[in-house]
Symmetry: C2
Subunit: 238 residues, 2 copies
Amino acid sequence: MATPAAVMKLYGWAISPFVSRALLALEEAGVDYELVPMSPQAGDHRRPEHLARNPFAMVPVLEDGDLTLFESRAIARHVLRKHRPELLGAGAGGSLERAAMVDVWLEVEAHQLSPPAVAIVVECFAAPLLGRERDQTVVDENVEKLRKVLEVYEARLGECSAGTSPATSSASPTSAPSPSCTASWPPSTPPPWSRRSRASAPGGRASPRAPRPRRWRSSYRSARPDCWSTLPNNRIDA
Amino acid sequence: MATPAAVMKLYGWAISPFVSRALLALEEAGVDYELVPMSPQAGDHRRPEHLARNPFAMVPVLEDGDLTLFESRAIARHVLRKHRPELLGAGAGGSLERAAMVDVWLEVEAHQLSPPAVAIVVECFAAPLLGRERDQTVVDENVEKLRKVLEVYEARLGECSAGTSPATSSASPTSAPSPSCTASWPPSTPPPWSRRSRASAPGGRASPRAPRPRRWRSSYRSARPDCWSTLPNNRIDA
C-alpha cells in the first residue's frame, strides 16, 4: 500500500501579506495543507527551530515532505508548479512564450506594484500600530506611483479582454501584493489611504481583521484575469 | 531549407545593472544576441517606440522573435529556460525540488541581497553623479544589512561545499545584483562604500567604467557556486 503524501505545512501568521500569498497559492492549487500558527509578538520567528527553517527569520516557511522552502513567491511557484503548472504557463498547453509572459508579470508585481502598495499599507496600518503618525506625503507619493502602475495594468486588461478565452488564469495567485488587506476590506468605507478616511478615523487607527483564506478561493476565481499569458507578447501602444 | 532563428535583440545601456543581468544570462546561455544601444541622456527609454516595448519606460527589453519581454529577471529566466534549463533546476536531471531551491535563492537575491546592494551603489555612484553628497548613514546601514545577508550566503556555501559535485550551477546568472559594479572593479583600490575610499576620492566622485560583457563569461564560470540547487533543502543550523 502506498504511503500517503505528507500534508504540506505552512508556518507563519495569516495576517502577514507574505503568508497570505502562500496561502492563496495553496488554496488555488486546491491541496490539503496545515497552517502552523506562529506569534510575532512572542518572537517565534527568531527561535532556533525557525531559524533552521529560514535563516532570515521571516515567514512564511513551507515544509513539503523533506523540502523546506522560504520566500513567499518561491513557495507560491513551487505549489503551483507541482499542482497547477498551467497557471505558470507550463504543463499541458504551456509554452516558453506563456511561461515567459507569466514571469514578466510576476516580476512587475514584485518590483512595480508591490513596493508602492506595501509603502501605503505600512503608513496606513503599521505606523498607527507602532504609535507614530501616518506620513501623508509618503502615502500620496506612493498612491501616485501605484496609479501609474495600475494604468498599465488597466491598458493590459483592456487590450486582452477582447481576444482571449476564459480558460486559464496565471499570474494572479502569486501576484497579489497584499491579499490580506483587500480580502478583509469593508466595501462601504473609503480606503484608508484617502485623506477623507484619515479624517473619519480619529487617531488614524485601523482594525485590520485576519484574512479568511477560504473566502479568497471563490473571490479570486471569479475575479482573476485570464490574459497574462495568453497574448503572444506584451506590447502596449503608448 | 529551414529559416534560421532570428537573433535575440536586447535593448538598453550596458552600464545598467539590470541590463547587465540580462547580458549575463545571454552570455551564460552562449547564444548569439545583439545589444541595441540606447541613451538614457537622450531619453530613448521614454520614446513611443520603446514604450511600446515596455510601458514602464525601463531597460532592458528583449525581443526574441515575436516575443517581447521586459523585467531583467524575467528575461534571464526566459533565456535560461530556453537554452540552459538545467541552470533553473529544470530539464534533464532537474526536479521539482531543484527548481524550488533555485527559486528560493533567486528570491533571496531579489528581496534580501539586491536592496541593500542597490542602496550602496546609489549612494556611492549615483549621488555624486547627481551632484549631491553621499549619505554615509544610508551606506553604513545598508552595509550592515548586506553583511548579515552575506553571512547567510557564507553559511550556505560552507554547508554545501563538502557534499556536492561541481556539475552544475544554477541561480548565479540571474542572481547577480549588480554585475556591472563588480565586473569593472579595480581590485587594488578599496571598495567605494568604505570611509577610507571616500577620503581617498575627493568630492566623492567615482568613474564607473562600462562593463565588459565578454569578460563576465569566463569570470562567472570560474567563480559560480555549484550548490544552490543540489541540496535537498535549505536548512541552516542557527
